[in-house]
């Protein structure tokens, strides 16, 4: 899919050399159409043998009964070693205790920030805790005045609030994903911090479609912090002028009290149950999962590898912008693993937008979200009560 679909072609000749008897045909999908295409393929019984799947989609395809369990293959594999993978990322592939995918590359969210602006405000290093962060946000806002801001939290993205919420001790769903669990002290804390950023004028109340160019705007100092993912390392390197390259840096997410967790995202490689070529598909999966191939994959895409041993390669170990990601990856948590996840986080985002605009208080927002999510999960409760393990 997307860029990965393009570069995989240059990895395959080596696979063909190792396994001359296996012919691999690649079907590229744009990300925006992938979900729908795969569902249609499932209905039309035309699913691929091996596929890249966003790890938040795995529970949904497991619910369809489309994916092949991989536990026994992994146990026998000389290549795929679960202990070498970042724990939070590996977990995203487990649904109700069973393994359905092997992480291919990882994605998480952390801080991109302006080192120079932080230094001018009197802070030599990025925040480790929310309190330190609050302090910096307020200080920067006081310096830049009413027309500029401290942080960009785009209202059309659910990730920033989800990260803050995942940092809390309470899970977001309770009773094995049967009910919402948002009326907790932890979610309250997260939502309050999020809303506070807007009421204090630290964050502009905008969607990122309203910001013509998020990279230039960080360069111009329209905001000093931006919560985003690894692909933006490459974008900032490419888009900011050379004289500004020394001014930006990445930092792990600050937490409520100490370094905080972030979201375990990324893509996994999965196999489909209907596949007629499972042995061959598994060989390709193992090939793509070996540290050497992952290193080449990183060189081609900039996608961060999910295995600790791949990170020891000099290109990665020497990349100053990737260091924060390496640290963050030891502290990533999966989002709730239910098929309705995407809808739930969308409802969470819409609720948060209403809180930011002052339509709801934090408590009302959490209560309303619990109600909505309980309704979304009604069918799942019925399915679980019928004894369906999925």
């Amino acid at each position: 899919m997307g860029r990965e679909g393009e570069v995989i072609a240059s990895l395959l000749p080596e696979f063909a050399r190792l396994h001359p008897d296996i012919e691999v045909r690649v079907q590229q999908l744009p990300w925006s159409a992938a979900h729908q295409k795969l569902l249609t393929a499932f209905v039309g019984e035309a699913t691929p043998d091996l596929c890249q799947l966003g790890n938040s989609w795995i529970p949904e395809f497991v619910a369809l009964g489309a994916l092949e369990p991989l536990q026994s293959r992994v146990e026998r594999s000389p290549v795929v070693k679960p202990a070498d993978y970042f724990g939070g990322i590996w977990q995203t592939n487990l649904v109700a205790g069973r393994l359905y995918g092997v992480p291919w590359y990882v994605d998480t969210r952390l801080l991109f920030y302006r080192r120079d602006l932080l230094a001018q405000a009197g802070f030599p290093s990025p925040p480790r805790t929310w309190d330190e962060w609050r302090h910096m946000l307020a200080a920067i806002k006081a310096r830049v005045g009413p027309d500029r801001y401290s942080v960009l939290l785009p209202l059309n993205e659910f990730e920033p609030l989800l990260v803050l919420a995942l940092q809390q001790p309470e899970p977001l769903l309770r009773d094995d994903g049967r009910f919402g669990n948002f009326e907790t002290a932890g979610f309250h804390r997260a939502l309050e911090f999020y809303a506070e950023a807007f009421t204090n004028g630290w964050a502009p109340p905008v969607a990122n479609t309203q910001i013509a160019n998020v990279w230039d705007e960080l360069g111009r100092g329209y905001y000093s912090f931006y919560i985003s993912g690894p692909w933006n390392i490459g974008e900032f390197k490419r888009r900011l002028p050379p004289e500004q390259q020394g001014t930006w840096m990445t930092a792990p997410m600050p937490g409520p009290d100490g370094p905080g967790a972030s979201l375990a995202g990324g893509s996994s490689l999965v196999m489909f149950q209907r596949s007629q070529h499972k042995e061959e598909a598994w060989l390709l999966l193992e090939f793509l999962s070996s540290p050497q191939v992952q290193q080449r994959f990183y060189d081609l895409t900039g996608d961060l590898p999910p295995r600790r041993s791949t990170w020891e390669a000099p290109e990665l170990a020497g990349n100053v912008y990737a260091r924060a990601f390496r640290e963050q990856l030891e502290r990533v948590k999966p989002a709730p693993r239910v098929p309705q996840l995407e809808r739930i986080v969308t409802e969470m985002r819409l609720m948060a937008e209403r809180v930011v605009h002052g339509d709801l208080t934090v408590d009302e927002g959490a209560a309303e979200l619990d109600r909505t999510v309980d309704a979304i999960l009604a069918k799942r409760r019925w399915m679980l009560a019928r004894g369906s393990t999925r």
Partner: protein, 292 residues
Amino acid sequence: MRAGLAGWAFVAPALLIIGVFFFLPVLAAFAVSLTDFDLYALADLRNLRFVGIENYLELLKSRDFWRALGNTCYFVLAGVPLSIGVSLGAALLLNSRLTRWPALFRTLYFAPVVATLVAVALVWRYLLHTRYGLLNWALGFLGVHPIDWLGDPRWAMPAIILFAVWKNFGYNMIIFVAALQAIPADLYEAARLDGANGWQELRRVTLPLLRPTMLLVAVLTVAGYFQLFAEPYVMTEGGPLQSTMSVLYLMYEQGFKWWNLGSASAVAFLLFLIVLAVTALELRFSRARDAA
């Protein structure tokens, strides 16, 4: 009898096609709207439950549906008169004998209709940009503070209306131009001999003779505007604060984002009933006026 049979034979192919590709899907959609068809049912049909009119009741109780309907009505009530007004105005100007190069202007005004919506929406997003947009720059000279067109829940719908009217007025304009050209010139001559001025000519001659065209345009535009979807889909994704979420957008989200096909079909049927009712009212109203 024989003639009747022959008649049926002639229309049979058309009926068959309409039946297979229109009535059958509509019936199937209605059946789906009475179930809780979703992702789980896609996996295994045994997970499908018949829920009767539950989907409809659920929608009528949901905040999102009323919100979407409210937004759609706002769009129709403001957009349709504005759109027809602009179309008629442009048609009258084009038809005026004082206008030079009418063919050129006709093409220019019609161009937005054939332009790709996504491409022009992108351009409009730049025009409407809060800080760098042309529109706010122009308003700045009038002393108007920058308006956050697509980010402020109060302004997003007006922005969408503005965009939709600009995009669509050329279509109705062409229909009006055709109707205006069909009005015989001797009627205007007679009116002028009776001493009518331009305004009186418009009110007493042009508008009454445009009445049937007006009805056609109104019916088409209302039905079209109720199906608002692509504009918010490209410009705002239904936001901010769901202020540009239309009924059709809600259906798209339910059906193709969350795979609640049962509920999405129910939305489609409710919208169908609403458009049907509004169109019936329009025809009724127009017939009552004709009778009066």
